[in-house]
């Protein structure tokens, strides 16, 4: 078992996954895709829906970009990514509107704005154009799950403090007074700032060199 674990640590796909989830987490370390991370995280269910939508778009669009990477002339590559990405975003939008209209209404315009989420574009440009499809698949999944878990973490803190519930289950005592500010924009900024601080302290990964 231990031998298997050691061998696993040296495979390429294991490292890609680890980087995406923790070491190079798109939100905490690279600080990409913040808009939706803050705007839709006042309820855990919205965070989960947003995370899954982004996971689908990143994985699918990276795969397609990787598939056609040798055919796209590099001068027009940005606009090609844009067309590919927005096609997938429209699919997600139609799917959610048809099967989960309540969540689609709560996400509103932010669902369409996945197109300009820097993570999607960033993965296409930084990884998918240079790598074969099988690694691109792991990279897309790992990065978007790294994004999703931070989104859910922020949403749990905000929903518990702002409404006293998590996924609509009461977690706070009945005497709890709701912190309305946590449901508004400032709450998102503060919680994400503190989470970034926590993760950086824990991973000992700082932006400025220690004196």
């Amino acid at each position: 078992m231990r031998k298997f674990w050691l061998r696993l640590q040296y495979t390429k796909w294991f490292n890609i996954t680890k980087d995406g989830l923790f070491k190079e987490n798109p939100i905490v370390v690279a600080v990409l895709g913040i808009c939706s991370a803050l705007a839709v995280t006042n309820r855990v269910e919205n965070a989960i829906a947003m995370g899954l939508a982004v996971t689908f778009v990143v994985t699918a669009s990276s795969l397609v970009v990787s598939m056609v990477r040798k055919v796209i002339p590099s001068r027009v590559r940005m606009i090609t990514y844009m067309v590919i990405i927005s096609a997938f975003v429209i699919m997600v939008q139609m799917f959610l509107e048809a099967y989960f209209p309540v969540i689609a209404a709560a996400l509103g315009a932010y669902l369409g704005l996945i197109v300009t989420n820097c993570i999607v574009m960033g993965r296409a440009e930084a990884f998918a154009v240079k790598n074969p499809m099988k690694y691109t698949f792991f990279d897309g999944i790992a990065n978007s799950l790294g994004y999703t878990w931070i989104l859910i973490a922020v949403a749990i803190v905000r929903e518990a403090l702002a409404f006293g519930t998590i996924l609509n289950f009461r977690v706070m005592p009945d005497t709890w007074v709701n912190w309305t500010v946590m449901a508004l924009a400032p709450g998102g900024f503060f919680v994400l700032g503190l989470i970034i601080w926590g993760v950086r302290e824990w991973a000992q990964n700082f932006e400025v060199a220690a004196e």
């Binding site: 913040i34 808009c35 606009i79 704005l113 300009t116 924009a185 503060f190 970034i196 601080w197 302290e201």
Partner: protein, 193 residues
């Protein structure tokens, strides 16, 4: 007319697109390290947001007439990319000085969510043409205001304050933006009439 003034003030202050709707965060955090760059980026955003909203409005009417609103995102993003590309070439040829001031930020704007968001908001709120133009101007100004405020605060902080190691860099920017956002919420309910 009063309606238009209200939309304008609302989009600059109480419904500020950067601090209340939390849009365009990537460039807001990346380029707010000094005031000079922040001004350039702010100007470029005001310009592009206004121009693309005005161009996208008739295009959306056309989509509506043919019953293909579903494709609006795809069409908007292509319009935006094309407009930005043309603007870059145009400014580079006409005024190299202006190009040095803010032309460098133009390519970054295609992936700035503010631009697409403004085009989506006028659809969702069913604005008419005059309202769309006013709203887009206000939204651009509001974003520029936010980035310049943030850059000024960061510039001052660099020399005068001690920040915990884990928060230094981008972490502290979130705390600053949170406080700024609280201040902008204070504008809610502001009315002049």
């Amino acid at each position: 007319m009063i309606n238009l003034i209200e939309i304008f003030i609302e989009s600059v202050l109480s419904r500020n697109i950067a601090l209340i709707f939390i849009l365009g965060m990537c460039p807001l955090i990346a380029i707010s390290t000094n005031v000079k760059n922040a001004k350039g980026m702010g100007l470029a955003v005001i310009f592009v947001v206004f121009l693309t909203a005005v161009i996208n409005y008739p295009i959306y009417l056309l989509l509506e007439a043919t019953g293909t609103q579903r494709l609006s995102i795809l069409v908007f993003i292509i319009t935006i990319a094309t407009t930005v590309q043309f603007l870059e070439i145009f400014i580079e040829k006409v005024s190299p000085r202006m190009y040095n001031n803010f032309g460098l930020f133009l390519p970054l704007i295609t992936v700035n969510c503010v631009v697409l968001a403004v085009s989506q908001f006028f659809v969702n709120r069913s604005y008419n043409f005059a309202e769309t133009a006013t709203f887009s101007l206000g939204a651009g100004l509001g974003w520029a205001l936010a980035i310049i405020l943030l850059a000024a605060i960061r510039e001052k902080m660099e020399n005068h304050s001690v920040v915990p190691r884990g928060l230094a860099g981008r972490g502290i920017v979130f705390i600053i933006m949170g406080i700024l956002s609280l201040a902008f919420i204070g504008f809610t309910g502001l009315s002049f009439f």
